[in-house]
Structure formats: structure tokens, C-alpha cells
């Protein structure tokens, strides 16, 4: 029997639905996550279900007590999600675009991330914040950011960036069951991407990388959507006689150092691909880790392929130029030989 195919959004929807069935403490809140609150004629699937429709239909099954539309008060409702988590719920909050995190940043930086530590361990914050990230949608500077590097810098936050529908479901279920604040990044251009997804609930541990393609000549660590670019580059490199291993860390914090170091030990070469701005980025983070702990394995410099240190431009040719792509990755790899 052929494996069941779901797209990214459907995989996420199923993960939430299954966890909400399993645990009554799981609630969902955010702008238009049900959609049309207090609109008399909206009772079911016609409601928005979030700006991209990822939570569509959940309100029909779980009702408006558990699928809660919020005003555009991100500090208010993200803080409320933190407060609800601390007092026994397991909220999932949808923060629409990651670029909006600035308006509620304190509730993440100083409240959600730090309460457990500051309270000497007497609180836990089992909260997942789902958010859209990434460029390529022509959504311009404020709506096309990735920003996971900012959150990875902050102790107390976990950061998860799935690249496939399969990973998305398993990682979201793990995130919901985790007792720390997890920020879960959903790339806007991957939303419609299909892939095999088992129907039963399953978990993928946070902190465990996945080798998306084994290889022996060079290690390419790629994050989120970049995994697909890296796989394309690996195809091209194969033609040129170079075998690339593509590693998808899947979670950035915790980070699976071991998987990366293992691979570099084997290949002796490292290219990190990250859609972030370069400075203080995940690309830099991974490069620095290997430059310390894997230095002896290296045959040459560590290359990074990132966006430039500029905001995301709107105009399509500029945005295309701005984003990492398979050609840039191939070129970076070849520069090491």
C-alpha cells in the first residue's frame, strides 16, 4: 500500500488534533486560529483556521473554548499563554509571522524563557509557539524573516525548524509534550509541500539531527527550507563526482553537535546553509562549534551560505538574489576542493 501523503499544513493540523484529543490541557490560541469569533453564521470548516488555514477545522471538533481567537495583542496573548502554561495548561500559541515577535519579545525573552530558572525550578512552561518564517513569498522586509538565530541565542527557549511534513508532525507532537517553551518555525513556502506522513501519532526527539542524504566528501548542514536546496546541490555535486552528506539539524536548540561532528570527521569539509542574516547566525554558531570541537577533522575553511546582511527586499529579482539557492551552495562546496 502506498504511504499516505500529507502536505506540511495538514501534517501540523493532524499533530495538533491528535494531541488535543489526547490531552484536554492542550489549547490553541492566536489571531483568527478559529476565525470569525462571535460571527453567528460561522460554525465549522468555513472559518479561517489561521492566516494560512493550518488550524482549519479544529474549532469544529474542539469548540471555541479550546480554539481561542485573540485580539491583535501579542504581548497580551503570548504572555497569557505563558501564564496559562505556568498554571497547568499546555497551550499552543500561533504567532502568525515570526517578524511580529518584536511586539511581544519581552514575554519570550524575560518571562517565558526565564521563569523556570528564576523561580529555582518551581515553574515549568509547557508552551509551543508556532510561527511562519522565511522568504520567497515576496512578502518584503517585515514578513520574510527567519529570526530563529535570535531565539536560539536565548537560554530557556527551544527552537525547532522542520523541513518535511513527516518531521513537522513528529516534531510538533514532541514540542507539545515538552515542558519547556518551544518556538516552532513553519516555512511559508513549504506549506503546500507533500510527503509521507503516518496517521498514528509519533514523536521525533528534540535535539536529534537527521541525515537527509548520506555522503562522504563534504558535510552540508542545512536548516528548514535550505535542506531542499542542499539536496538539489548534492545532486549536482554528485554529477561532478563529489559526494555530499546533507544533515538537517531539525532543532537548533537543543542542537545535535554530535551528528555534525561525526559527519565532518568523515568528510573533512563543512558548508553550513542558513537563510539567516550572517552575523551572529545559526550558520556562524555551527561553524564556531566545529572550528572548536572538530578542528582536527577539517581539511579547509568552513563555508557558510546565508542571506546577506540586509533586510529582505521586496522586488522579486532582488529577493531571488538575496536568498540562498542550490547554485550558491554548489559553488561554496566546490570552493573547498
Amino acid at each position: 500500500m502506498a504511504e499516505r501523503q500529507l502536505n506540511f499544513g495538514q501534517a501540523l493540523n493532524e499533530a495538533m488534533r491528535q494531541e488535543m484529543r489526547r490531552d484536554p490541557k492542550v489549547i490553541l490560541l492566536g489571531e483568527d486560529v478559529a476565525g470569525g469569533a462571535d460571527v453567528d453564521h460561522l460554525h465549522g470548516d468555513e472559518a479561517w483556521g489561521g492566516v494560512l488555514g493550518v488550524t482549519k477545522g479544529l474549532v469544529k471538533e474542539f469548540g471555541r473554548d479550546r480554539i481561542i481567537d485573540t485580539p491583535i495583542s501579542e504581548s497580551g496573548f503570548i504572555g497569557a499563554a505563558v501564564g496559562a502554561a505556568v498554571t497547568g495548561m499546555r497551550p499552543i500559541a500561533e504567532m502568525m509571522f515570526v517578524g511580529f515577535m518584536g511586539v511581544c519579545f519581552d514575554q519570550l525573552l524575560n518571562q517565558g524563557a526565564k521563569l523556570r530558572y528564576m523561580f529555582g525550578g518551581k515553574a515549568k512552561v509547557p508552551l509551543v509557539i508556532r510561527t511562519i518564517c522565511g522568504g520567497g513569498y515576496r512578502a518584503a522586509a517585515q514578513h520574510s524573516q527567519v529570526l530563529y538565530s535570535l531565539f536560539t541565542h536565548i537560554p530557556g527557549l527551544k527552537t525547532v525548524v522542520p523541513a518535511t511534513p513527516y518531521d513537522a508532525k513528529g516534531l510538533l507532537i514532541s514540542s507539545i509534550r515538552d515542558d519547556d517553551l518551544v518556538i516552532f518555525f513553519e516555512d511559508i513556502t513549504l506549506g503546500a509541500m507533500k510527503g509521507p506522513v503516518p496517521e498514528e501519532p509519533y514523536t521525533i526527539p528534540l535535539g536529534k539531527a537527521d541525515i537527509k542524504r548520506p555522503g562522504s566528501d563534504v558535510t552540508i548542514v542545512a536548516i528548514g527550507k535550505m535542506v531542499h536546496h542542499a539536496l538539489k546541490a548534492a545532486d549536482e555535486l554528485q554529477k561532478q563526482g563529489k559526494s555530499a552528506e546533507v544533515i538537517d539539524p531539525r532543532t537548533l536548540s537543543p542542537f545535535d553537535e554530535e551528528a555534525v561532528l561525526e559527519s565532518v570527521k568523515k568528510t573533512g569539509r563543512l558548508v553550513v546553509v542558513d537563510e539567516s542574516h550572517p552575523r551572529c547566525s545559526m550558520a556562524a554558531d555551527i561553524a564556531a562549534t566545529v572550528a572548536d570541537k572538530g578542528f582536527d577533522y577539517l581539511n579547509g575553511p568552513i563555508k557558510t551560505v546565508t542571506a546577506p546582511h540586509t533586510p529582505v527586499p521586496f522586488s522579486p529579482p532582488l529577493e531571488d538574489h538575496y536568498l540562498p539557492n542550490p547554485q550558491k551552495i554548489t559553488a561554496a562546496v566546490l570552493s573547498l576542493f
Binding site: A140, P278, P313
Partner: protein, 322 residues
């Protein structure tokens, strides 16, 4: 309040320009010529135009994601705007901003804004500049009903009040924040009722009646120019299109939608009013309609034919170092 014929014609032309611009954006977006997100202002024209009828180019404005109408009313050139939406080098922002970030400093237009509630603090800044330099420039700060629940607005209203800044805060209450009705997200019926929480005058009015908007804002602008501080105006209105292009609008109430589009269209209301008073003739309207249509056609042609920016522009207008 008596309005000169010149002003009436200006108002009509600006409203028509916005409507025609927006309707054309809808078409071009549908054709795939305009990438990204667009949020159309059609149905709300009386607000931007009624208010901007009190301003000069020296006055400032902060706007929202639904900013095309504000721009046009403030005098930004539609052809440059259209080119911007197409992502072209000739756009108002060289194609680097797009619909959500259109700005034109020469017209005091401090930017559309992709962040709900992003504008009010900036408005306090231009207000502060005007106050400190003792010019009598005013700042108009547009925001939606949804934005009224954003903390930045509260901070800005208080700041403007204690510093007596020359700002007119304009709530464009079109009844919805995306698919969420104002009667759900907002704890009070009228956003302007919150003015008392900041010790400033607050007025709720029919935002589809340009005369009501003009009068209320005329007074507010006069207050601001004479150092009497900010005012909060709430203009009740309705958007003719979805939240963004692509929205199925299932949350709208059919009868209400129909009523607004047919009976409460601000341009129709204006025409009917002015025609009934014999202030402007059908022929004069027609002449404007034709001019506007030609202007927008020309703008689209200009946008189509303009080049995309050179990829080197990716690295300009920002400090890059590595």
C-alpha cells in the same frame, strides 16, 4: 461647513483615484503581476481623503498595511506606487518596499507598515519634531480597529497627550481585524470612547461620509496646529474587499456587505450629495473619471515597462560589512 468647489473636485478626484487604483491592483494581482500581499482600501476612501483635505505636503502621516489610499490622499504619485507594487526600480521605494512599505518622505508620508500598531510611536516622533521646531506641521496617525488592541497605540496616545503633540489619531474601524469582528476583539463599542482615558477629545463618526470626516478633522487639525494637542477620531467604515486579496470572506454578513457596497459607498454618497446640491455637474464628474482612468492606465503601463532594479540594489541603503 462650506467647501469650495475646488476642494469638492479635489475630494472627488482623490477618492476616485484611490478606488480606481485599488480596483486595478486587484486585477493586476489576479494576473500575477503584483507579488506578495495586498490589502485594498476600497470602500474607505472618504476617511483618507476627508482628512488629507486639511493638509499640506509638509504635514506628516503614518499608515498601515492598508496604506495605498493614505498615500494617494497625501499626494503620492500613483504611477510610482504602481511601479512599487510591481517591484520595479521606478517605484516609490525603488521596488524594495512593496505594498506594505510604501513611503514618500517628500510628501511627509512616513510609510505603510506591515506591523499592526507599528505606526503610532513613529507618529509621536514626527509630532515631537514639529513641536520642538515650532513649525505647525501636524501628523495624521491612521490605524485600524484591530490595531486599537495593540499596546503601542495606548503608549502613543498617552505620550501624545502629556507632550501635547500635534497628532490626529484616526481609527479606521471597518468592523474587522482580518476575520475577527471588532465587537469580539474590542471591549468597548466605540474606539473613540477611549479618548477620555488619555484626556483628549474623541469623536466617533460615519467614516463613509466625507463631509463628516472633513469637519471633524478640520477641527482636530486646527487644535493640533495651535498647540492644543492630539485628538482621537474614529471613523466607522467597511472594507469592500477581503482582508487581503485571496480572502474568501466567509465571516462577512451578506446583507451588511451588500448594503455597504450598494448604499453606503462613500463615493456614491458624495456624488449624490453634491449632485443634489447642484455643486458639481455629471459632466464634471465624468471628466474626472476619465482623467483618473487614464492616469491609472498610464501608471500600469509605466509600471509594466519599467525595469526591475539591478541586483546590486540588494546591498544599498543599508550598512553591509563582512
Amino acid at each position: 461647513m462650506e467647501l469650495s468647489k475646488e476642494k469638492l473636485l479635489w475630494m472627488y478626484e482623490r477618492m476616485q483615484l484611490i478606488r480606481t487604483f485599488e480596483n486595478r491592483v486587484k486585477v493586476e494581482f489576479g494576473k500575477g503581476k503584483i507579488p506578495g500581499f495586498v490589502h485594498l482600501y476600497a470602500g474607505e476612501e472618504a476617511i483618507a481623503v476627508g482628512i488629507c483635505a486639511n493638509l499640506t505636503d509638509a504635514d506628516y502621516m503614518t499608515s498601515t498595511h492598508r496604506g495605498h489610499g493614505h498615500c494617494v490622499a497625501k499626494g503620492v504619485e500613483p504611477r510610482g506606487m504602481m511601479a512599487e507594487l510591481f517591484g520595479k526600480a521606478t517605484g516609490t521605494c525603488k521596488g524594495k518596499g512593496g505594498s506594505m512599505h510604501i513611503a514618500d518622505m517628500d510628501k511627509g508620508m512616513l510609510g505603510a507598515n506591515g506591523i499592526v500598531g507599528g505606526g503610532p510611536p513613529l507618529a509621536c516622533g514626527s509630532g515631537l519634531t514639529a513641536k520642538l521646531n515650532k513649525t505647525n506641521q501636524v501628523t495624521i496617525c491612521f490605524f485600524g480597529d484591530g490595531a486599537s488592541e495593540q499596546g503601542t497605540l495606548h503608549e502613543s496616545l498617552n505620550l501624545a497627550s502629556i507632550w501635547k503633540l500635534p497628532i490626529i489619531f484616526v481609527a479606521e474601524n471597518n468592523g474587522y481585524a482580518e476575520s475577527t469582528p471588532a465587537h469580539y476583539h474590542c471591549s468597548v463599542e466605540n474606539i473613540a470612547d477611549r479618548a477620555s482615558a488619555y484626556n483628549m477629545p474623541g469623536v466617533t463618526l460615519d467614516g463613509n461620509d466625507i463631509f463628516a470626516v472633513y469637519e471633524a478633522s478640520h477641527e482636530a487639525v486646527a487644535r493640533a496646529r495651535t498647540g492644543q494637542g492630539p485628538t482621537l477620531l474614529e471613523c466607522k467604515t467597511y472594507r469592500f474587499n477581503g482582508h487581503f486579496e485571496g480572502d474568501a470572506q466567509t465571516y462577512k454578513i451578506a446583507a451588511e456587505n451588500e448594503k455597504y457596497q450598494k448604499e453606503r459607498d462613500p463615493i456614491k454618497l458624495f456624488r449624490d450629495n453634491v449632485l443634489a446640491r447642484h455643486l458639481v455637474s455629471e459632466a464634471e464628474f465624468k471628466a474626472i473619471d476619465d482623467r483618473v482612468a487614464a492616469q491609472i492606465d498610464e501608471g500600469v503601463k509605466f509600471a509594466e515597462e519599467s525595469p526591475f532594479p539591478d541586483v546590486k540594489e540588494t546591498y544599498t541603503d543599508v550598512y553591509v560589512n563582512y
